[in-house]
Each structure stands twice: as structure tokens, then as C-alpha cells.
Amino acid sequence: MNYIVPQSELKIVGTRPVRPDGVDKVTGRATFGADMTLPGMIWGKVKRSPHAHARIVSIDASKALALPGVKAVVTAADFPEIANEEAFVGEGPMNFRDLSRNCMARDKALYEGHAVAAVAATSQAIADEAIELIDVRYEVLPHVIDVEAAMAPGAPVLHEDMFTTGVEPKPAKPSNIAKRVSFTKGDVAAGFAEADVIVEGRYTTQPVHQAYIEPHACVAAVSADGQAQIYSSTQGQFMVRAYSAKVLGWEIANLRSYPMEIGGGFGGKTVVYLEPLALLLAQKSGRPVKMMMTREDVFRASGPTSGAVIEVKIGAKRDGAIVAAREVLKYQAGAFAGSPIGPGCMCGLALYDLPNVEVIGYDVVSNRPKVAAYRAPGAPITSFAIESALDELACKLNIDPLALREMNGARDGTKTHYGVTHKDIGFLSVLEAARSHPHYKAPLQPGQGRGIACGFWFNIGGESSGAVHVNEDGSVSVVSGNPDIGGSRASMAMMAAEVLGVPMDQVRPIVGDTASIGFSFLTGGSRVTFATGMAVTQAAEKVVDQLKTRAAQIWDIPVDAVEWKDGKAWPAGLNAGAFEPLSVAQIALKAGRTGGPIGSEVSLNAQGAGAGFGCHICDVEVDKETGHVKILRYTAIQDVGKAIHPAYVEGQIQGGAAQGIGWALNEEYIYDKNGKLENAGFLDYRVPVASDLPLIEAVMVEVPNPRHPFGVRGVGEVPIVPPMAAVANAVRSATGLRMEHLPISPPKLRAAVDAEAKAG
């Protein structure tokens, strides 16, 4: 069934109802991970390494265990040793040895804040005291923080068994370069030889944290027979179950994982940190255990995304046609391999129709927390470099930056450098919307500047389950397997209500635990409204079929003589008008007599998520004396496919843009010379506050994705891709200064102003 065509007939999809979980969230009743309490519960805390890189010589917990109130201590010795291989558990590839060692350091602590032990005690104060009493002896090792320093010969090596993959012959010596990846299209040397104009740049970005306001938290309980429950704030209850079971060596069936309300994730809650520790402490102590990260723990030991060095070279003809592009990307992975270098290599240039491309990427470990996914992982970094370089090219060619993108922009049939041919994309529609937006033509005052930049993200589908049940009174329950991180319960209920033809408030959506609904890949990659929405839509369609069958039984007519319209069964064909239509409630009343409960669960693996494109327009005012950049006006235009709940689509776009503005101007990880993080808190890790930002206008361009019943494309990732370059290009427009290094913090910008003045 396809609902795209009769758009005008949509009654619920595309409207802006109050979200079903809203009242609990404005009254303080919503239950997040840290709000959970179980009878007999005690408190777990983590002891963390004070060193960036150190061999763990010994851990003596005897004094802690002797402290009254301490119920259990765990260290790496309590976890099974896991082989160094990527395993497949339905969540995609994951190196569980690395995951295990990230949850609890074994042999070596690889970054400041790396967990080395955990305790459970009857009060938080006792647990804190016990942490102090655990005696860990370290042999401090030389450390390395920055990506190019980590790649240099002679750098301290984190993993003696890391030999760069993707290079021939296989290196003889271990290094911090986990892998090299590359993509080529055409002949890049020949392309540059034809170019009239070439721009080159070396861009750097700093690691930034997802900075969700809710710190990680969970409560675990384990029965004597090994059956366990875990309640946590996570982007995937099935991920928590699978990862925890793997790290602990437990059977998945023994673990039931409950998703609590989640206070933001943005990719940062797609792995486990505390859950395996809490489960083990609960098992050892025989008591339910609650664990919460402090804000400092969150910064030191979870997230962030990669910092990177990106070298870009782009060549074009005089008229603006790009003939060649070369990009080298060096991404920090943190302490274990696995930066988003793959998408990094693909996304930056995916927006353009380019004949000759070479992209080389490196995944590099150093003594920092292991990176986690963060909105369009890898894409914002590469796009900062590419979109800045394109701005330089536009300046050099004296071409309008939007025109340069219009001329070279990808369209249906464009073959990307990674081989995929674009299909059903809306990039040119987005550019057209940008050109016709009043913002693009609005006058600027002296000292102000305007920048534009674009962004791309694949969006993903994947495994999802959704169930629709008609209750005895005709109300409808919708169960999905995906934590609701930004309003997905509303969109699930809306799609189900649309298919059923019933009012939204007749549908109650919930997020099921791992025993209540079929497997669902985690909430991430902007996949839930697309993939889980597809499962819910299909389940609702099956329910409609059942309702028609039941009505046919009640009327004693053939089922193909029943029509479903406006939430009611209608006799059709020869029987038209013969019976009064039956509502869902009327059919539900007779469910027992017509075959039993009415409901359906659909599990699927959704393919064909439509890619998304965005174009952002940013105006700034620069105080050249202080280097302060004020964002004056911001417009974010994006192809959203079909907006199910437009207000929450706008919210995704506005929120992504705001995070990108933070990334552009102030957010960064700052380390001291000992490899210790100096700004592990919201005071000095400076996310945008309300007074930093203007209203952010979100413009939704709707180019439906033909592979989704309502035309949905993922929307949450794209909006964080363009802002860094949009801001940098606006600063360039205001000052003439090309800021190649993020963040564009006041000291850096003032130094650039002074350097230019000095150079004359």
C-alpha cells in the first residue's frame, strides 16, 4: 500500500498533535534511567584511571571490601576474556574484546577516566569512600593525544597487536593506525591537470561530545538462578541486552532489558558503559544496583566523536565545473579502533557530480575515550573541510557559492566516488529552496557576513518490530522496539491511526522491553520513523485486514465485500448500504466470537532508506577586537521526504543546527600535557545556551522517498552536517579570514585577525 499519492486525503500524517508522552514530561512524571528504584537497591560507582596511559600493575580491593556497607567489588578479573575478533550479533560488527576492555580496563588503562574497578555499597557516600580505598598500582606509560602525533613513527603504541589493515604488504610493526581506506573514481591527476583553478587546505576539527543532558544511568537486578533485568537510558534495549550478554558471557535469554525514558543520546547511547558493571555487581552482591555517571564521567569516559585532520584539494574549470577532488582524512578513534572514517570518506563529496576523485582515510587510536556515534557520524567533519574549500573556490572564481553548488550538485543518476548512483534525491530542490528563500537575499550590515554550506547523510533502515493491538474497547495499543528519543511514539501512533482511520487519541503508543516486542536495531541513523514506522504501518494494515474479516463474519458476507474507510468497516459492492458501518469498537466487542483478539506484530528489515540533503544559510557578526562571533540569523533547509509530525521534524533540524553551531564556535576537548581532560563539565565544555542563538528557521522540502509507505526519509542526521562550514564561511564573508581550525573560538579568531594585520 502506498499512501503518498493522495496527500490531500491524509488526515493525521502531516499534522501537529500533542505527543502522547508529553504530559508526563512537562509534569516531571516521566521515568528516566536514574529515576528507577527497586526494592533493596544499592549504589554502584566506578573507579577510574587518573592516567592517560598506564599499565595496571595490581589492584587491591581488600580495604574497600572491609568497609561496612560495601557489598561487592568488580575488576577486569571478574569479566571473561574475550577474543579479538569482530562478532555479529544482529547489531552489526562490533569488536567485543574492545567493548569489554572499554567497559573495564584489562592490563592497561588507555585514557584518563578509563574504568579500572567498580563497587556496590548501601549508600552513595560509602561507595565513594570505597572507591578511594581501592588501591590500584600503575606503571605510567608515555601517552599520545593528537591524531598526527599518534600516527608518527615512534609514537607510544596503545595496542601491540594493531597492524594497519588496508595497506600492502601488511606492516611488520604495530602502530596506532588501525586501518587505511580509500576510494577512487576516474583519474585524479589528469583531472587536476585540466583544472584552471585549484584550492587546497588543511582543516582540523576537535572531538566534540554529544552532550546529552542526561548522564548515563541504569539499574540492574540478578536472581540467584541467573535471570536478570536491566533498566537503562539507552538508544537500544536490544543492544544493551546483546552487548551486556556478550561482555558477561551470559545467555541472551537470561537478560531482560527495559528501555527507560532517554534524556538525549545523539548516538552517544548506542553502546554500553555501565550496564555490564551494574549486572555483575548485582550478581555478586545479590542486590539490585543503580549506577549513574557524573557529568565529569560522561565527558571523560563516554562519547565523543572524532577530532580530525583533513587535507583537501579541489580543481575546477574557469566556469566553476569541478574536474577533480582529493581528500585525505585522519580520524581519531579514541582508545580503540573504530572512528567513522568510512562515512567520512564517502559523505563529503557525495553531494557533487565529480569526474575524478581520490579519497584516503585513516582510523587512528590515541589516549582518549573511545569515540561513539554522533549524528551523521563522520559526515560533519569531512563536510566542514569540503564545504569550506568550496567556499574558497567560489571566492577564487568569483562565483556565487550557491551557484557553484547548483552547477556541480548531485542529481538522480549521479555516480558517487564510492560507486553508488544516486536515486530519488532532493539535493537540487533543496538548493532551489535556498536560492528562493528571502534570507539568501536579505541585506547585510558592515561587519556582518553570510555563509552557506550543504550536507548529506545516507540514512539507514534495518531491523525493526512493531505491533498493533486492538483492545477490548476498540482503543489501540502500538508497541515498538525503539526507545523514543525525539518524539517517535507520536509518529508511530500517527501512522497507525492514519492507516486505521481512527483519531490519534484512540491510539496509545509504548516502547516495549526486549521480552515484549520483537528484535529491533537501536534508535539511530535516523531510521526509526522510516524502518519502525514501516513495521508499524504494515502491522496496522494487517489489523485492518483482520477488522474487515471480522466485519464480514458479523455481517455474514464475503470479506472482499467489505471496505475500510474512515475507521469503519463498510459493506461494499452488492451489499453497499445493506448494513450500518461497524466501528473498531463495535468489531472489538465481538472479537472473541469472531476468532479471538485482533492484533498483529510485524518484524522486518527495512531497506532503501532515502538519502537526505540539507543547505544552511548563516549570518554572523564578528567582533574583531575580541574574536567573538554572534549568530544573527540561521536558516536550515532540508529534504525531509514526508514529515509525519512536522513540528518534531523541525525540532530535529533546529537541534542539529544548534549542535553544529556549538561545534563550530566553542566546543572542544582540551587536554593538559599529562593527557588529562581539562574541561570535563558544562562550565568549560561550552554548549550553546539560549541567549547564544537566534530563532532557527527550519525549511522542510518534501521530496518523498518512494520506498516508504508515507514517503519518509530520516531527518535527524543531516542538520548537523552543514553548520560548521556555514559558520566558517560566514566568518570568511564578514572578515576575509578563512578559519581552517575548529572551534572558531575567540582567542583563535582574534589571533587570525592580528596575523592578517601583521601580514598587511
Binding site: E86, F88, G92, P93, G166, E168, R180, V181, S182, F183, T184, K185, Q210, G265, F266, G267, G268, T270, P340, G342, P343, C345, M346, A373, Y374, R375, A376, P377, H417, Y418, G419, V420, T421, H422, K423, W457, F458, N459, I460, G461, G462, E463, G524, G525, S526, R527, N605, Q607, G608, A609, A611, R707, G714, G716, E717, I720
Partner: protein
């Protein structure tokens, strides 16, 4: 026959420099087995770490995806997301 395009180093390191290959396969699963037979290790690489685009549509998991005469199949790194 469907045509497989090897664009990135993820696949190219198995294919001895080949960038394209025509494979007589009617489903993606058959294609993976065929590839693994031709280039040992590539099948596992595709299964564990790669997504696939068939005529421009990206599939994260595509065992059952039908392949048509002339389909273009591109192997790319698997994509996650925030």
C-alpha cells in the same frame, strides 16, 4: 548479468585490482558466495562490514534482494548513525 563494482579499498584489497566483475547470480546471497569463491575472504568482509547498493538503493542486509539482468551492485562500508 549483474555487474559488481568495487570502489573502495574495503573490497579492492581482495580483488587483485579488479574494479568490476560480472557475476551470474540471481540473488545477493548467491553473489556473495560467488565472490567469496573468486576472492577468498571477500565474502566474509561483505557480510561483516559492508553494505550494498543495488541500482542506487542502499541495503544494509540484502540476502534476499533480487538481482536483475544488468543490475549494478556496489559494495560500500556499512553505515551506522547517531
Amino acid at each position: 548479468m549483474p555487474k559488481v563494482v568495487f570502489s573502495g579499498s574495503g573490497a579492492l584489497r581482495f580483488t587483485e585490482g579488479r574494479t568490476e566483475l560480472e557475476v551470474a547470480a540471481t540473488s545477493f546471497r548467491k553473489l556473495v558466495r560467488e565472490l567469496d569463491a573468486r576472492f577468498p575472504g571477500l565474502g566474509e568482509q561483505v557480510e561483516e562490514g559492508m553494505a550494498v547498493a543495488i541500482d542506487g538503493v542502499i541495503y544494509q542486509d540484502a540476502y534476499n534482494a533480487p538481482l536483475a539482468e544488468g543490475s549494478e551492485i556496489v559494495l560500500i562500508p556499512k553505515i551506522g548513525g547517531g
